[in-house]
């Protein structure tokens, strides 16, 4: 059955869709040698690969997933990157890629449909293929958390080896070269000299109206969340048509600016970049002196394990915070018995994501107007300066929630889960519920870890990631304080009742996973230097969220991308 409800927008989706661009051409054979190999075609890897090719280096971009096309019917509400009950829409393939959840008393083997797997995505574009595309710069203080707050017992809170100022020009490149819609007039903390954004922000929609009123009554300044999306045609791509399933799905009209639609096509256009999909890097190869010479990869991963080695002068790892750590740990040799870059035992430690306290409020009148993507009003007032806690979070309303996600997550605790009262609640309140939420800056713990599992292997026989430990208790404290602010905002906006609750102590990684290969000045307490170069290796770099020393009180991708521009520029000039 063709649902075709998207065509209700009155636009010809056939003409607008990016489907043809995503079609796989016959794969070019992988050569024996390149100037550079980049592992992972996600936020970090897609950018570095493009910059390397543009600088004249023959570059191979290896991606274990495949291209993902948007679903003309809108998408599967039970198998997407936001509700993965029975499958995922942007990878990884399930049974082939188990992980071990060792956070409880008995370790369990889990697939990517289980929250404990901590999935982001695994496809061309990585997380950016299906992300929500909020495009926040970190706060200047986010780069110096230890100096600002001190180091709580048992935590590994530390300063970055770079400042906000080091990253500012690279943030600006992401904003202009990929395309961000936003409004800098109220973006106070980024400092002066900013060029602004290339596109106007998304409008305040139905749910934003009461929240704007509420914030004004509290004296809180607000701004539209910056988005890596086109509000007007930009970069040869379409403007957003305001559909209702943005987060977790590929964009039906190619208005979402991920690396799959911007930097990777730009790199391919040079003729020097080759993208190999369905290829899994098994390990990074070193010679007898312990120097990196290339990678060992499994080509045509889905038809059989054809292991081969490919040489390169430079190797850049950008496989996402969990898989990058796993890959380094799996790259063992007599010179590197504990894995590459792991001489000081830091690879895989400090896994962090974001705690996401969320509060919901019931409004007198419906405020939902169906205008996607959804987040339209934010405040950065509580990123720092919250009494008695470390750090904080940006707060904003969330993406349009699918009805089934609302059923699972949106009902107050006292509404029965079945029966006429449940149905009445869905009927009357889906359009009257507001949600305010925020990514709480985690206080890292060295015990929140990615290790290798001794017994469980993936389909190709490679030891899988084993996740263990918890965030630091200070994270829970900050989350509780931020949850209070969410409630305060809803109350001031006229909510008659409020529910939700701050999360308890646990491990967090998931879509915002970061921190497992921190950069730093001291090789004894970090994995790479400030350009992502792995300590002790001239030609091995990391360029993904693994590098984050702390993960900010903001969604992380703009920082992953800005870092990739900084690192890519550095490596390309070597």
């Amino acid at each position: 059955m063709a649902h075709g409800w998207l065509s209700l927008t009155g636009r010809d989706l056939g003409a607008l869709t990016g489907l043809s661009r995503a079609a796989d051409a016959a794969p070019e054979p992988i050569q024996a040698e390149y100037d550079c190999i980049v592992i992972g075609a996600g936020a970090g890897g897609g950018i570095v690969a493009c910059l390397m090719a543009e600088a004249g280096h023959r570059t191979l971009l290896v991606e274990r997933g495949s291209h993902v096309a948007p679903d003309p019917d809108g998408g599967d509400h039970l198998r997407n990157q936001r509700l993965s009950l029975y499958g995922v829409n942007a990878g990884p393939s399930l049974a082939e890629n188990p992980r071990v959840d060792a956070t409880g008393s008995a370790p369990r083997t889990v697939l990517a449909t289980d929250g404990a797997w901590n999935n982001n995505a695994s496809c061309v574009g990585g997380g950016t293929r299906v992300y929500g595309a909020q495009a926040w710069r970190f706060h200047p203080k986010d780069f110096r958390m230890a100096s600002e707050y001190g180091v709580p017992d048992g935590s590994s809170l530390a300063d970055w080896p770079i400042t906000y100022g080091d990253l500012a020009p690279h943030y600006e490149r992401v904003e202009w070269e990929l395309g961000v819609a936003g409004d800098t007039s109220s973006y106070g903390y980024t400092g002066s000299g900013s060029r602004g954004y290339p596109m106007p922000p998304f409008p305040v929609t139905g749910s934003g109206v009461p929240l704007a009123r509420g914030a004004a009554s509290l004296g809180w300044e607000t701004l539209p969340p910056p988005m890596l999306m086109n509000t007007i045609p930009y970069g040869g791509r379409n403007a957003c048509i305001h559909c209702r399933h943005c987060v977790g799905f590929p964009c039906p009209v190619d208005a979402k600016n991920g690396v799959h639609s911007t930097m990777i096509p730009r790199g391919l256009a040079t003729g020097l970049l080759q993208l190999a999909t369905g290829a899994v890097v098994r390990e990074i190869v070193t010679d007898g002196k312990g120097e990196v010479t290339g990678v060992a990869l499994l080509e045509e991963a889905y038809t059989g394990a054809n292991l081969r080695s490919v040489r390169a002068r430079t190797v850049v790892v950008a496989a996402g915070a969990i898989e990058t750590a796993r890959l380094l740990l799996n790259s063992r040799s007599s010179m590197h018995p504990d894995g590459l870059g792991n001489a000081s035992g830091h690879v895989g430690r400090n896994l962090q994501g974001h705690y996401y306290p969320s509060a919901r409020g019931l409004m007198e009148e419906p405020c939902w107007d169906g205008v996607g993507p959804g987040p339209c009003i934010a405040t950065c007032r509580f990123n720092h300066g919250n009494p008695g806690v470390i750090g904080g979070a940006m707060l904003c309303n969330d993406f349009i929630e699918l009805p089934i996600i609302f059923w699972r997550n949106g009902l107050p605790p006292d509404v029965p889960r079945w029966g006429i009262e449940n149905k009445r609640w869905m009927r009357e309140n889906y359009r009257r519920t507001l949600q305010v939420t925020g990514p709480v800056q985690e206080i890292p713990s060295p015990n929140a870890r990615v290790e290798l599992d001794g017994s469980v292997r993936d389909r190709w026989g490679i030891p899988v990631a084993r996740l263990s430990g918890r965030t630091h208790p200070e994270t829970v404290k900050t989350a509780a304080a931020i949850w209070e602010r969410c409630c305060e905002w809803l109350r001031a906006s006229g909510a008659s009742r409020i529910w939700g609750g701050p999360p308890g102590l646990g491990l967090s990684g998931g879509q915002h996973q970061a921190g497992t290969c921190r950069m730093g000045r001291d090789p004894r307490s970090s994995v790479t230097d400030s350009f992502g170069r792995v300590h002790g290796h001239q030609n091995l770099f990391i360029a993904d969220a693994s590098l984050h020393v702390t993960n900010g009180g903001f969604n992380p991708v703009l920082t992953v991308m800005a870092m990739a521009f900084r690192i890519g520029g550095f490596v390309a000039a070597l």
Partner: protein, 137 residues
């Protein structure tokens, strides 16, 4: 997969979880179709649990009302389910309740591509599709 009598018990069970009002009940909005697909796929492992719950429901209904669950009328069905939820009867059905409520909601509120919610009826009911937005078949 299920016998006709199991099917009618399942239908009555699902319609208790999402009853009709001026919008259709679970079964009328495709939850049966959804479940049949899931029982042949990812929820295959749940079939035995459903089967024993359905048998238990019928036995209890016969014991209480001298009538199988599907035929005893919505008031009695509801009365029995409330007793079950309170832990007073049918332990297997009680164990299944949270999962069954979730499956009913998945069929009812998810996209038609999954077998349920054929005309996106529930989306119009909650307002995910606004009045006037009717699917182009």
């Amino acid at each position: 997969m299920l016998t006709p009598s199991e099917l009618s018990t399942l239908r009555a069970f699902m319609d208790c979880l999402i009853p009709a009002d001026d919008w259709p009940s679970a079964w009328r909005n495709g939850v049966g179709q959804y479940l049949m697909r899931q029982f042949a796929g990812p929820l295959r492992h749940m079939l035995p649990a459903y089967r024993s719950a359905l048998a238990e429901l019928d036995a209890e209904s016969v014991a209480r009302f001298s009538c199988p669950f599907a035929d005893c009328g919505s008031e009695r069905q509801l009365e029995l389910l409330v007793a079950i939820a309170a832990g007073e009867a049918c332990p297997e059905t009680r164990n299944l309740l949270p999962a069954a409520a979730s499956h009913a909601a998945e069929g009812y509120y998810a996209d038609p591509g999954n077998g349920g919610n054929p005309e996106m009826t529930s989306w119009r009911m909650v307002g995910y599709l606004l009045p006037g937005e009717i699917s182009a078949p």
